[in-house]
Amino acid sequence: MIGYLLRRLVWAMAVLVAVGGVTFVLVYVLPADPARVIAGPRASADAVAHIRTQLGLDQPLVVQLAAYVERAIHGDFGHSFSQNLDVLPLILQRFPATLQLALAGLFVELAIGLPLGVLAAVRRDSGFDRGSTILSIVLVSAPSFWVGLLLIHYLGFLPHTQFGIDLFPIGGYKALDLRYLILPAVTVGFAGAAYYTRLTRVTMLDELHRDYVRTARAIGLAETRVLWKHAFRNALGPILTQIGLDFGFFLGGVVVVEQIFSWPGIGKLAVESIRTADVPLIMGTVLFGTLCIVVANLAVDIGNAIADPRIRYTR
């Protein structure tokens, strides 16, 4: 078990290093010259050369990579020239917004997906079941950026124009102001809600056909108790696994939704960094996104290993 965990940890590190390496090579060949971008449109060739030397951009790729790794180990991820801040504090500063959106999106997914899935399983083959299946296929087929835009257009202005209250501001962010969170969270969560409906339905169906459920019913336990205390609890395994993976993915930045709603999170920061050829920030945001995914994977693996001792530890 310990060996298994160690192997997983080493593997997670390896993935991080691989992604970092790939990204570094990518930004190295980026056609925009970072020194030129930093120096500004009016700078002389000498000034650009000075900055290039200062930042070590005239060194070979391997030397630059080694320098980056060394600084990164000491917690220095460089200075974002487009935002004029150090990369690490900048990412940490943007993180709460993304965390909020990730939590809210996950909440939307589960608040809709879990009850619908359980209901569909319990009333399988009913009209409700069929309806929810069709609805979930339709919802996973809608592009989230488009749904976000529709929400903005048809909900964003409605309360405002009809009742004079700004119930769903159409973009932007205020810390702890839930009104700004509603539409982005729904946009993040609607497709996932459909997915969880189906996942929950199938896992619940599996559980409901197991012997212990039959036994529990036979000894006369109340149906709700059987359903939630026993079947649902056992069905949670695969659902929790998925939640873990989703959460990690969201934390790395919800790129499209953050764009549409001008949500100042990691995803928007990452896109801005690419647009402005802000090399240190590209590296930082991509690494951060990968870290979130890798840590989530690791957490899920460890969770599963603890929960289910039968798991194969060989790989």
């Binding site: 056609p31 120096a39 002389s44 000034a47 500063q93």
Partner: protein, 568 residues
């Protein structure tokens, strides 16, 4: 300042939309008849427009992108400059038009030594004020000298000022400071507490314009040479202080109660709300939740707002000192078609500029030559080519391309540039020239067009840094800049034109000087390195409360003069 995507939407951040300008020195007073479109309360020139009165209250303005720097040595973008103009002041400023006036200087400078020495008397009793409103001390000549030396410092953090050499390199000894060989430029001299002298290497009529840019702001001499530290506690002499700032969200500027000019500032507070999408901003202005927006009207609601009579008196518009153009690689390798004068001249006839103006909803003035209307040297009679596709086709055939040729047209990804290049593509196809379109992020695109021969054709714009025709010719169309890293994207190099430009720069008679630049413009257009297409026009909507807001020809947004209508 420079290169810009020809407008912005998703990206705004980078573009140092250079903010406009006007007459070249106090001697030049031409204001062409096609000047700024009128806006309420236009006034001329005392040190601050006089129509405004102190009314107090809070004004809010929304911006798409954030303030990048509170350090005037570094800030070079559309949001940083208006913010800096509130906190800091310079020796000189412009009136509501393009005429230079003293600000921190007590009167215009005396010029001696054949135009190479400028001596300024400083205003007395000017106070540096801390962000909390307390007075630091009075400004003196040491601060002025230290501020310019600070801009020249190559070790300024996080990196050197982008204009150290470009704007201030002409000061005697500046090159040594930039090279790290000296701490202070010998040509920057304190004569006494309230007298400063600038010695230049060469006489330069544009130097006073440079002293009016935010780069020449006067900071206390003890200001740290680190933009991040300055941002935490910006200290200037301006009418407002930075009361609070949350990155990515809002900057709050409060009235400087100890301001040295009586009767100012006009407002209690100015709030910059940043990261606001232009569609959201226009909604909020219509709803009365916001007073101003720092970005132009978005394309979708443009017609709706500009044609609605209820907004007629709240619509503010102005033609920018800007030219957007299609350029050709005039030295295209392998004897390429664009290296041939006859081909380029033919293409001058191929572009339907009226259509492009229609596509941008009339947010522009048709450009046939290089200089925009508000720039000294503008020539309303300059129309060397007119749209005629049949003629273009014939000329291409005569030049040996009866079936046209293929090429690639580059631009950036910021609206409306991708739309405009698609229109250009159809125009060029109509005369037989098939172009592939490549849109790139602005930083990448900029690097491409400043690298020789990486873009046979490109679509880009240029805003002035300061109101002088040399700011269009020297950086964009001279042999010296037709190099790697130079802004001369068409690699245009005509030795004769270079010679004319050198003479024009040294010409001391303003009228002769402007005539010389008009001749240069004609000579360049005959070589057809560009197809000038439009001069951008800026449209914005203000709330009902706003008083005395006008788009400034040099600064675009100069909020010092804005107040609120009484009772609002």
């Amino acid at each position: 300042m420079a290169r810009h995507a020809t407008a912005r939407r998703w990206m705004a951040a980078l573009l140092a939309v250079g903010l406009l300008g006007g007459a070249c020195t106090s001697a030049a007073t031409n204001q062409p008849s096609t000047g700024p479109a009128s806006s309420p309360g236009a006034s001329t020139a005392t040190s601050v427009p006089s129509a405004a009165v102190a009314t107090g209250g809070t004004l809010s303005i929304a911006w798409n992108s954030d303030i990048q720097y509170f350090d005037p040595a570094k800030g070079y973008d559309v949001v940083s400059w208006p913010a800096e103009k509130l906190i800091y002041e310079q020796l000189l400023q412009y009136d509501s038009g393009t005429k230079l006036l003293p600000l921190l200087a007590d009167g215009m400078p005396t010029v001696s030594n054949g135009g190479k020495t400028y001596t300024f008397k400083l205003h007395s009793g000017v106070k540096f004020v801390n962000p909390d409103g307390s007075v630091l001390r009075e400004m003196n000549a040491d601060d002025v000298v230290a501020s310019i030396n600070r801009v020249l410092d190559p070790n300024l953090k996080p990196s050197a000022s982008p204009v150290a050499g470009g704007f201030f390199g002409n000061i005697v000894g500046a090159a040594d400071v930039i090279a790290g060989k000296a701490k202070a430029a010998s040509g920057l001299k304190k004569i006494d507490d309230l007298t400063v002298e600038f010695d230049l290497n060469q006489a330069d009529a544009t130097f006073l314009n440079i002293l009016a840019t935010p780069f020449a702001s006067v900071l206390p001499k003890e200001a740290p040479h680190d933009a991040a530290q300055v941002a935490t506690k910006p200290i200037g002499t301006g009418p407002y202080v930075l009361k609070a700032y949350t990155k990515g969200s809002q900057a709050t500027f409060a009235a400087n109660k100890s301001y040295w000019q009586a009767g100012q500032p006009f407002l209690d507070e100015i709030d910059f709300k940043v990261g606001v999408d232009d569609n959201a901003a226009i909604q909020q202005i219509q709803a009365g939740q916001l007073d101003l927006m720092g970005d132009p009207l978005p394309a979708g609601s443009f017609t709706q707002i500009t044609t609605d009579p209820q907004y007629a008196d709240r619509l503010v518009t102005h033609t920018l000192v800007d030219t957007d153009y299609l350029f050709f690689d005039t030295q295209q390798p392998n004897n390429g078609p664009l290296s041939k004068l006859a081909v380029r001249q033919a293409l001058e006839y191929a572009i339907d500029k009226d259509n492009i103006l229609k596509l941008v909803h009339g947010a522009g003035v048709k450009a046939d030559c290089i200089f925009p209307p508000d720039l000294p040297g503008y020539d309303p009679t300059c129309h060397p080519y007119t749209f005629d596709q049949a003629k273009a086709k014939q000329m291409l055939a005569d030049a040996g391309y009866p079936n046209g040729f293929s090429s690639t047209l580059y631009t950036d990804t910021t609206d409306p540039d991708p739309q405009i290049v698609q229109a250009l593509q159809q125009d060029l196809a109509a005369v037989g020239v098939k172009v592939n379109i490549v849109t790139e992020e602005f930083a990448t695109f900029l690097d491409r067009i400043e690298t020789p021969h990486k873009a046979p054709m490109g679509w880009v714009g240029w805003f002035q840094d300061y109101p002088d025709p040399s700011d269009f010719i020297d950086p964009l169309l001279s042999c010296a800049t037709a190099v790697q890293g130079g802004a001369n994207a068409p690699l245009y190099c005509n030795k004769q034109v270079d010679q004319m430009a050198a003479q024009a720069r040294g010409e001391t008679d303003p009228a002769k000087r402007l005539q010389a630049y008009q001749d240069i413009q004609k000579a360049i257009m005959a070589d057809a390195p560009w197809v000038p297409v439009r001069h951008q026009k800026w449209f914005t909507l203000v709330s009902t409360r706003v008083n005395n807001f006008q788009l400034h020809p040099v600064w675009n947004y100069d909020l010092r003069s804005v107040s609120l209508k009484p009772g609002s």
